[in-house]
């Protein structure tokens, strides 16, 4: 088993009101899965993905990645862990605007500090080829369409061959045709690379592509 979530709870405190964002979440993910989290707005999709991706902390429960417990780790340890294990794809792409496509994609590899310059170059160009952006490596993000930017973001998430790719509404900012292309791309990369994908969406069309669907409502898993 790749990921195991046990009894995860998360409450947001904004002012005097407590918002229970996640209650008693239990979830298991195998390697190379392609799983969608679906649910209405405010149901806790983003919160769940953030907690799994270790960029948000739950208040109770356990998360195991490859049988390693994550909740007890320090901020620093978690950052190191994200460097290796997690790839993130964002709804708003979140590319670094001052960097070229190539520089954006190479960033995770640079952070790992274990590849030489030529290895990095091969990997980045190969990855860009896989996401269909060959030849665009010197463009800047703002010189690309939304779909192309999301492809860069996917390349950035996958270039280091992470065990898990977390994508919070990766298609929400795209038109439905482009959205489907992006999910298709994610799916084919899931098959080629063997990374386990967990993505959230509230788009019926996108959900159909998932091999497994987790429905969430009011912070609780329905099915």
């Amino acid at each position: 088993m790749l990921l195991q979530v046990k009894n995860l709870n998360k409450t947001y405190r904004s002012g005097k009101v407590d918002v229970k964002a996640l209650s008693n979440i239990n979830l298991n993910l195998e390697p190379a899965e392609f799983t969608a989290i679906a649910g209405p707005s405010g149901s806790g999709k983003t919160t769940l993905l953030n907690c799994i991706g270790t960029i948000d902390r739950a208040e109770s429960g356990e998360i195991f990645l490859d049988n390693v417990e994550l909740m007890g780790k320090s901020r620093n340890e978690l950052a190191q862990l994200r460097k290796e294990y997690f790839g993130f794809i964002f709804q708003t792409y979140n590319l670094i605007p001052v960097l070229t496509v190539f520089e954006n994609v190479e960033m995770p590899l640079k952070l790992l500090r274990k590849y030489s310059g030529s290895e990095i170059k091969d990997k980045v160009l190969g990855m860009l080829n896989q996401v269909g952006l060959a030849g665009l490596e010197n463009r800047r993000p703002l010189e690309l369409s939304g779909g192309q930017q999301q492809r860069v973001s996917i390349a950035r998430a996958l270039v280091k061959h992470p065990k898990m790719v977390l994508a919070d509404e990766p298609t929400a900012n795209l038109d439905s045709k482009t959205g489907e292309e992006i999910v298709d791309l994610m799916k084919s990369l899931n098959e080629q690379e063997g990374a386990s994908f967990l993505f959230s969406t509230h788009d019926q069309l996108i959900m159909k592509h998932a091999k497994r669907l987790i429905k969430i409502r009011d912070g609780m898993i329905e099915s």
């Binding site: 960029i55 620093n76 995770p108």
Partner: protein, 404 residues
């Protein structure tokens, strides 16, 4: 580390107007500081030269009874000056010694009168003083008088005019003599120009009815070796008061110290402006880059790594601003070095507390360059520290939520 540095560099290269403005202010401050320091140093240099060449030499030897509060009192006279002079001249590093007799007198052109310092100068005066090189008209002739240009102008006098000089001789009697102006001197020392007249030593002594002199002025081979030479001079002149030029010009050396302090304050002000500007710029940049910071943290940048990114950015702004300031400062200072600044044209005959007049040039002070660059860079790093700390504390999730 190098990767973070490159990232910071890229951020700077594509920086906003705001960053460029901060950078410009910083470089301008650095340039002004350099200009100030170099100008002041130039002024000091000329001041020292003018004091030494026209007033103090490197040392003055005076009678043990010499009273500083009444420097022109006739009781101050130095006895056996000839023997003393010979002894001092035997010291290897002494290049010249000149006897002068100084007394207060009233200069009268039969319409107006003005108090002056009258100076009798010996034949070897030019071994120590630069007076002779600054004579613009005529020369000092037997029975004649040499006079500062400004004083002559004020009194409406010219070469070959006759004046009366009234003074008290040794026995206390007032004496009034008629003298011919045989030369005009236009020196770089305002005091010489405004209030001094010169005559031959033997004539002055005759009028004063004395064989003595006020002091012997000594010039050595290096003005900055004041401390080093002093004991030897003192040994050659036992029971004689020995004053170095530093001691004699305490007034304006005190001013030099003041100026140093003023420069220090100026540097501090630049630092404060830089710090405020950079803190502001960096904070804005941090808030604007919230999404980027969140993304980088999600990608696995540690808090330290993201914070370093901003520290490097501050460091680079400081370094680049500092270097730009050095270039600007060099440009500014070049003008004052090659063209100079006409103090007299700017300030007129006003006493500016420094023995300088005419065109004064700036100097080049390496020390100011090093200090300015160091401070600019340091200030920028210090200023980036707080914004960088802020970045450390920011939660990736919060940063990301702001955009979604």
């Amino acid at each position: 580390m190098t990767y973070l540095f490159k990232l910071a560099f890229k951020n700077i290269l594509r920086s906003k107007i705001r960053t460029i403005l901060t950078f410009l202010i910083l470089s301008f401050g650095v340039a002004l500081y350099i200009l100030l320091a170099c100008l002041m140093a130039g002024f000091d240099k000329v001041s020292i030269k003018n004091v030494i060449d026209f007033e103090t030499g490197h040392y003055k030897l005076r009678s043990p009874d010499f009273d500083e509060d009444h420097p022109y009192d006739l009781k101050n006279y130095l006895e056996n000056s000839q023997a003393l002079k010979t002894r001092v001249l035997k010291l290897g590093f002494v290049q010249g010694a000149a006897e002068r007799v100084q007394f207060l007198a009233e200069l009268d052109n039969s319409i107006d009168s003005a108090p002056v310092v009258a100076v009798g100068i010996g034949p070897q005066d030019n071994q120590v003083f630069s007076l002779e090189q600054y004579i613009i008209e005529g020369r000092l002739e037997p029975g004649g008088l040499l006079m500062g240009k400004s004083l002559a102008q004020d009194m409406g006098l010219q070469k070959d005019d006759l004046i009366y000089l009234t003074f008290r001789a040794q026995q206390g009697m007032y004496t009034s003599i008629e003298m011919l102006i045989t030369g005009i001197v236009n020196s770089a020392n305002p005091q010489v120009n405004n209030s001094m007249v010169f005559m031959n030593l033997d004539e002055a002594q005759k009028q004063l009815n004395t064989k003595q002199v006020t002091d012997i002025t000594v010039k050595t081979d290096a003005f900055f070796k004041v401390k080093e030479y002093e004991p030897q001079i003192k040994a050659a002149a036992p029971n004689i008061q020995v004053y170095s030029w530093k001691k004699l010009s305490e007034d304006f050396t005190a001013m030099m110290t003041m100026k140093r302090k003023f420069q220090g304050i100026f540097l501090l002000m630049i630092m404060v402006i830089a710090v405020v500007g950079i803190v502001n710029t960096m904070l804005m940049s941090v808030y604007e880059k919230k999404a980027e910071i969140g993304t980088m943290k999600a990608l696995g940048f540690t808090d330290q790594e993201v914070s370093n990114l901003f520290l490097f950015e501050g460091f680079l702004i400081g370094l680049a601003g500092g270097l730009m300031g050095l270039i600007l400062g060099t440009l500014f200072n070049s003008w004052f070095y090659f063209v100079g600044m006409d103090i007299t044209a700017m300030m007129g005959d006003q006493d500016i507390g420094m023995p300088i007049m005419g065109v004064v040039r700036s100097a080049w002070i390496a020390d100011a360059y090093i200090k300015a660059l160091l401070f600019a860079t340091l200030a920028s790093i210090v200023a980036s520290y707080y914004p960088a700390k802020k970045v450390t504390k920011m939660e990736a999730m919060e940063c990301l939520r702001t955009v979604q």
